[in-house]
Symmetry: D3
Subunit: 214 residues, 6 copies
């Protein structure tokens, strides 16, 4: 259990091999995180995911490489995240990414602000909206619905112990169903988890995120 | 997506049916949370999990009932949590529950302090250790290893942005491998998620936890 | 003034002598606190108090043993505390113990959460109420009166400088008299004192408190 | 218990009667606090204390008038405070007043900063020292002993849960005995109590304190 | 003194007139801030400054337009800022902009993060460095000198009262002279001022900053 | 740039020479700050300012001596400050000094509390008002206008990112114009700057301030 492998950036190489990719050194070969964990052999499902990522994004997100030391953990993480962020919900994907970015900004998480700020820019087509979520969403010109959603997510991040019925009532007044409230809480909760996992391991965002959808 | 069902405590009834359980009203039929989400039909795997919970604990933990409005979400949550808390790790199950309780105490999460404080009592056979984790772990007589682990988990909870190489170095000095550091971060991160999900929904711990292993 | 005595746990022995108690080693012989202060000879009134404590509780609370290095200080402490917590008041003893526990939980004081959480359990006959006060009173189902009282006590603990007339007005609206407001403030203030005295000295709660009224 | 009397500033009149004082309206007849509590008849001991205060200071400190609705409470408060602040100790009276002022400044308590800042000016003969304690003791030129004492008192005020053996060890290194450590903690704890009692009741310092020992 | 003028975005029009500029509507005609202050006639020096800004940047920074209701205030602000940020110093312009961005990020100031993050990108030629300063400088790979400078600026922003000789000594050890320390403090202080002025008035950054030097 | 001169208290001597002043050692010869910066030759305007200060106050404020290592910086600072604090405004000079003192109290700045507390005492003729601003303005009996002004200044100091339209609206309701709001923000911002500059350099207030207008 405790043997440590070579620095996980070498994961990229093995994985590219598994995914039959070739070509010049790509930015994703950079440092992934501060922990040295030996990559496991990708399961067929995960090999396919990595291949698709290369195809769509041009790289495999470092959070996936970081988890790749254990296929069960990687698959569980991907399943949970995809259900949450891509599955059916009363919240649009953009709204979920806005929550993710605001939570990450509150937690000063370089990895997550970079990745989810880029998603907000891309999904909204509005580069400034991404920066507003990453710096101070109170300065954005938001709908009442968006503002209520982000205020709830921020309070849940900063003082979860103080959330009470009036906080949920404000969301209902803004038009959210109970299922939507679950989703806001679940997304805000999830990024409070990943912010901490990436901060604890000094995970580095892949370079291409920085220029994405500027 | 936005239709809300009857209060989710009715989940208990349906699920008991699915699980062929009979007998007098148990404490687990109490209120589950403040959101009203219509329970979905349990998948075979989840029906089996609920049945086993009834058998082992005498009840189904409310967090599982709360997630039962959507089988994909429930299964992904269970898979992620079980891999994290029950899977192979350089951290003992007790150590992982100590981290869970300390994080939950910092976040003043009634549900999670109750559940994980009970686990610490049970796994350690020491009721006072559970209370120490739930109030102030600094007052406990801990090994250097335990103390380093809990200090890291607390800092990661309170100011994740300030974790840096010296924090990881202190864990290595205390005997933790890089894989162990990942696990401490993953457990601390996970309960920063569930603390927020249970606080956001006012989730209630099943009554039997309170008396468990006192 | 600066001579230090043997570790104060030896106080228990001398005091039991003074109180003519005999029998096997009791849990109260454990460590009392981190400071070594030589116990003084118990005054007749204090000897009687210690004897009564043994009789009623089965032990002498460690806070009394800790103060026993100086009879004047011990007697003044006991007089002030008993007037406050046992004397006539518009607040019931349970309400006063609820305030004590909520303040102690905010200050993460292991000694005081243990002792006053036990008192809440005992006086209310409701073990869960004790745990709610010790973790997050906002999760409890309280009357408006109780809630107003605890909100005032918490704010007075966290930001005493921000208490103003509207805070007192809210208590009056909830049915409290000016004398009751004094008592809430006096109890909240007192535990802000004892929390700090017990934390500063690493005072340990007597073991029997943990199992009391579970 | 719940009958409220006339505003307690009338206490001054009755008490002056009891103390046989005469003369023009003095500043101490001003408002005492925001709660209206009917003054009780002064016990002989307290009548004597009030008389002495008039003689020595020219007024009765408002905190005593505020407590005068109940002789048992007033006497217990006076006994505890006098033992603490005037009784034998390894800490000089000035050192105890320095702790009182620093704690009160941290808690932004107008009553206590005024009263104890005046005491520091008077006992030290140094008006600037009083202001330094009332604004930021880190800007004062202190001995190592004084600095260690005030750092401990401040930490105990701000995060009592984080006091541990190294904090006590630093005091011992600076020359304090275990008994002295008790006294520092007891004084810091006491003003964390009175700061809250005076803030909760909007207690007003007697005017003469402001000009005292400038 | 209290007459308010038309919303200050009209300043742009008048000023463009003064500066003899023509052409299509530029982004600088957008909203400047939430206060409506009537623009004053530009003094010759300020008209020249505005003209140069248009020439160099393509727009007049909104902070200058905001101050343009009073020429004396605008000129004093410009003189102070230019001396600080462009004048001779042991700190490079990039270092001063790094301090400005880190302070602004701590204060979640949308205007200043946008403007100074852009300056860091431009002066360093490294877009990612700008984002690191704007999110969490601890994640950047900095020299010891840079790190010491930014740690000092951050502490001075968050808890100025706790800066003491060891903080200055750490800067000297990292190679900074006393004059450099003054400059770090002056820059960090200045942006603690402007962050508050722009937040208080909801000042909006000119759009072109967002894309600058990406 | 990096040569450091003799400790800046020697500035006083040179400057007195430049200002043709003679006589016994005055209190302004004391320590100015913790940085050693060689004083520059006073420009005629600054020599005149220093001379007037000596005449009016009996000393040159240490903040001016501290800046005197560079005439351009000193002149820009004086121009900005004088425009702000002495120039035309809908806020009286007393109101501006009240804001300055409340901000400085929040930042625990010994230099600025001393100087601006003295100004409040002098301008109001009410020594207690100065102490109230320096300890806790909530304890003062203020007009609605004053209270709204100070609440805004405090919030802008503590959490500038959270200022929004309702905060400005409250000021307008209390009778302030948009220009007045600018001035409140500008004064609060300015002292957030000088508090940090004086704390960073351990600047010492001239002794005469302490006794001024008591």
């Amino acid at each position: 259990m405790r043997k440590t492998g070579k620095r996980i950036k070498t994961v990229a190489k093995r994985q590219r091999g598994a995914a039959k990719r070739s070509g010049p050194a790509a930015p994703d070969q950079d440092e992934v995180m501060a922990l040295k964990l030996r990559p496991a052999k990708l399961s067929p499902a995960m090999a396919e995911l990595f291949r698709q990522s290369e195809e769509t994004l041009g790289f495999v997100p470092n959070v996936l490489k970081a988890f790749a030391f254990d296929m069960a953990k990687l698959e569980a993480f991907v399943a949970y995240r995809n259900g949450l962020m891509l599955g059916p919900s009363g919240l649009s994907q953009l709204e979920r990414e806005m929550v993710a970015t605001v939570v990450s900004a509150q937690n000063h998480c370089f990895y997550c602000i970079t990745v989810h700020g880029a998603s907000v820019r891309k999904l909204s087509g509005d580069p400034v909206l991404g920066e507003l979520m990453a710096t101070n969403y109170r300065s954005a010109r938001l709908t009442r619905r968006q503002r209520a959603m982000l205020d709830f997510a921020l309070k849940l991040t900063v003082e979860p112990w103080a959330i009470e019925e009036p906080d949920r009532a404000r969301l209902r007044t803004a038009g959210f169903s109970d299922r939507d409230i679950w989703d806001i809480a679940a997304v805000a909760g999830f990024y409070n988890m990943t912010n901490r996992l990436t901060s604890a391991t000094d995970m580095r965002p892949n370079h291409p995120y920085h220029a994405l959808a500027r």
